[in-house]
Structure formats: structure tokens, C-alpha cells
Amino acid sequence: MDSRVITITSGKGGVGKTTTTANLGTALAMQGKKVAVVDSDIGLRNLDAVLGLENRIVYDLVDVVEGQCRLRQALIKDKRLPELYLLPAAQTRDKNAVNSVQMEQLCRQLRQEFEYILIDSPAGIEQGFRNAIVGADEIIIVANPEMASVRDADRIIGLVEAAGKPEPRLLLNRLRPEMVKRGDMMDVTDVLEVLGIELVGIIPEDEMIIVATNKGEPAVYDKRSRAGRAYINAAQRIMGEAVPLDEFDEAPSLLERLRRLMGFGQSEAERRVRSQPS
């Protein structure tokens, strides 16, 4: 089978790797692709809960690589999508329970069954991260538009290059268009200029993500979730479709532009600038 192993990583923790893996995996499966999502964050299992599959786990990734069970036994079929499977992480082991050779072997095995294999990487740049990228064809870096996250993303880009992998692509997560508009947050172009890699998607900050995680149903199922819609677009881009990037209102609205032209109803940033002695 012609399959692609894509690792979702970030360096910094808490930027949305697991949410991204769950949503991209679900979105790809919704497009009829055969997808496996792999939780490689051994000891800190979470992808199962985001997908709502936490009470179906019998075997895990470590059991598979140690030969305690067959791959098929450990794979958990999704509740809704017949083409989506999860390989959960072990919760009671640590990151050194698996080595790079075993991970590469596991990827080869998964390739025989699936079109897309998404690996959710642990945070950090240690063995767990190296295991997550060793068998990957492509790497997607999740970053938030804030300093620590972008800095770590830059470090990851260097490490991915050093590992002989192709240039990673960026998924900019938790962007807040209102803050960008005010000048209080870095814009997509700022982050791209600093990192110098290709963009695969922009996901706006969205409360629905927390609601979705609470329910164990990825946000892509919810048509009202703007993050969910953005993830669907990103998944289509991964599939090679040309989807335009400006999927939500980032530029000032017509009303806002008019208001500014007329010189009343200034925005927050404008007021601040005006009160500065120039």
C-alpha cells in the first residue's frame, strides 16, 4: 500500500499535538482514507481520551514492539469511522521502553495496513521525540504564535534536518485573529518569516476544542467549530488538495475598515498608539 507516515511534533508541550493528531486523523478518515493514529507519548497516554476510546484499551504500543501481542490486537477501531484505528501508548512504562529500531519496524508494519499513519510525538527533544520521527516520511510541527513555542519549533526544525528528514511543515495552532488584529499577537506571516518553513494549516483558538475533548469527540465532527473546519482544510492540504489558507476572518472586516477610515471607534491598539508621544 502506498502509505505516508506523518509525525506530529512540537518541542514545547501543550501546544496541541494530541488535539492535532486526533483531528487530522479523524478528518482524513472522514475523507475515506485508511488511517492509524499512534500515541508515542509513552507514560503520558492521552490520544485515546481525545478520541473517546480510553475504555477500550487492552494492549498498547509497548506490548506490540515487545511481541506480547500482534499489531492487530492492539489496534483499536474508532467508534464512528470504520477506517480509523488507534494504537495507544503504554501508560505504565517510561519513554525508554522503546528504541528507534523497534519504532522503525512498527512503522513498516503499519504501512502494510494503512494509507496514513499519524504519530503523536511526546514533547521534548529526547529519545521519545527521536523515536517518533525515526520512521516518518513527513513531519508536521505544531506551534502557537508565541515566543517559547516558535523558539522550540525552530530547534525541532534543526533536529529534523540533522536526522536527514525532509523539511517539516508548520501547523500554526491557537491563533487569535482578534489579538493579531490589535497587534498583540504575532501573525502567520511573522512566524513563517522567522521559521522559514512551509505552512500546512492555521487553526484558530476555539473553545469548542475543550468541549470536544470533554466529550471525546474530535472537533472536526462539529460544523460550528472554526478549529474543526480549519483542521478539515489542513487534512485536505495534507492530501495534496489546494485549499486556500485564509479560512477565517483575519483581515479587518469591512465595517472595521470603514470605522477606521472615518476616524471613530478606534481599536484598542490605535488608542494605545495615539496616547504615545511620538
Binding site: M147, V150, R182, G183, D184, M186, D187, D190, V194, S278
Partner: protein
């Protein structure tokens, strides 16, 4: 933001722009693995080389790493102190109460030494 920029004139960088500029500096250091100590050594060596020819203001001098149009650069600002030249060969047109004669005119001596 174009419209009000025009109205207000030069603006202070927004937090977003500030983050971007700070990131650029941090990343140049991260990427090149150049420590502040090494940068200080480079600075001292620059001072010793350049002050053989010019009287520079070491206090105001800055040596930084930066990234511009995709190229990492070592960027230095080296302010030159008021030139000490003698009236004989280059009388300054305006000398606001500065002891112009104070400086050293080592340039010729150096040339002779070579």
C-alpha cells in the same frame, strides 16, 4: 493599520512585532551556538584592531547577531569619537567647545612604521 499609522506618524512596535524581533535575535543565537561570552571576546578583539586606526567609543559600541533577509549577520555599531585632527591639515568647520587638539594623531606614525 495603515490608515492610522499615517495619522500618528512613527509608532511604537506592537507586542506582536516586539515578539517577532526578540525571537529573531534569540534564534540567531540558538542556531549559531554563539554564547554571550564569545560575543564579548569578539567585541574586545574588534576594539583592539580598530582603535589602532580610529578612536572609537567603546562604551557605545554594540556587537550583535541578527538575521536579515534570510542571512545571519554579525552586526556591529561602532561610534567613532570626534575625530582628532589638527587644524593644520583639516580645520573642522564647527567645533562646539570641544578640545579638538586633545586627540592623538597616530595615523601618520603608523604609516611610517610599516
Amino acid at each position: 493599520m495603515g490608515v492610522f499609522e499615517f495619522r500618528v506618524g512613527r509608532k511604537k512596535p506592537t507586542p506582536g512585532e516586539l515578539a517577532k524581533e526578540r525571537l529573531k535575535v534569540v534564534l540567531v543565537h540558538d542556531r549559531m551556538k554563539i554564547s554571550p561570552e564569545l560575543l564579548e571576546i569578539i567585541k574586545q578583539e574588534l576594539v583592539s584592531v580598530i582603535s589602532r586606526r580610529l578612536d572609537i567609543d567603546e562604551q557605545q559600541m554594540q556587537v550583535n547577531l541578527m538575521r536579515e533577509s534570510g542571512i545571519d549577520k554579525l552586526h556591529t555599531d561602532i561610534p567613532i569619537k570626534r575625530q582628532k585632527v589638527t587644524f593644520e591639515w583639516d580645520p573642522p568647520s564647527y567645533t562646539p567647545g570641544t578640545p579638538v587638539m586633545r586627540g592623538k594623531v597616530h595615523i601618520e606614525e603608523d604609516n611610517e612604521a610599516e
